[in-house]
Symmetry: none
Subunit: 154 residues, 2 copies
Amino acid sequence: MTISENTFIGEYKYSLDSKGRINIPSKFRQCLSIENDSTFVISRGIDFCIYAYPLVTWQGIEHNLKNLSSLSSTNRSFIRNTVRYASPTKYDKQGRISITQSLIDFAKLDKEILIIGVVNKLEIWNPKQLKLIDDKLSKIDQASYENLSEKIIL
Amino acid sequence: MTISENTFIGEYKYSLDSKGRINIPSKFRQCLSIENDSTFVISRGIDFCIYAYPLVTWQGIEHNLKNLSSLSSTNRSFIRNTVRYASPTKYDKQGRISITQSLIDFAKLDKEILIIGVVNKLEIWNPKQLKLIDDKLSKIDQASYENLSEKIIL
DNA sequence: TAAAATTGTGGGTAGTTGTGGGTTAATTAC
DNA sequence: GTAATTAACCCACAACTACCCACAATTTTA
């Protein structure tokens, strides 16, 4: 049952099969609006995970990138690095996308996979990697967390 | 009789059945406004209980999260940890929601269940856990209570 | 007080979901 | 051009979930 279109929450444990495929949770597939044509754009994430954007969300990002001037070298590099590892992937009849070897290597994916809906996109993790990041952050950032939780009432 | 929509008070004792379902008190169901489509979003609470938000209340939280930039690592982690254990659940014809195993484990739920309305959301407890927390808090927090009483007139 | 409606709990069944693997088409290498 | 490798597509099946019905206990209504 979907909350709102192209918006994802929750985490799911799946496995990367011998052919490099990962199941997209059924709940997430149901959230994907029809115009996405069953397609996610997968790319390198920020903390050694893989991002999977609904096609239309990605198109929005592309639109924003077009408005960045290429005269700035920072911009050029940002645009290049945002786009160079991205590729659209349609999921098959069983609901699986296949992940390129380059992204599997980047995210150090093993058989065990964690897919997390983080509102506007999905994150695909090796659970061990996520734990590393989590532990590191929880130590240093207690103060900023409390700051945030004053702004957002849970 | 409802006091105001999507606002809950009072506590009820129920049981977790063999299929992981919990009844939502009829009073609370009646409080839920029609636009929620009989749906709560359940997630990890603070102190080892489960929170259940009316769908629309949760959508407000999501809206706030969408306004946080993902370029900050603190924000990314905050967003991830807020939504990763959340899932929408529509109650069935008998008024029960099913709780994921992951949340049952987190809240150490047993057969005996306590559901408490805490104004904007519900808390689902193992009564034993709640007692532990209560005992701990009543010892240390006399001062903070007096502090609060300046802000809230009872 | 009796009848009717509502509420909480148990359980059965049909459909859905996740996963493995086989077959054919497309791409690449030689 | 042909062989080898890769990718796309399809089928199968066990496990799980959503949906339905049943019924006792309680509350409401007449």
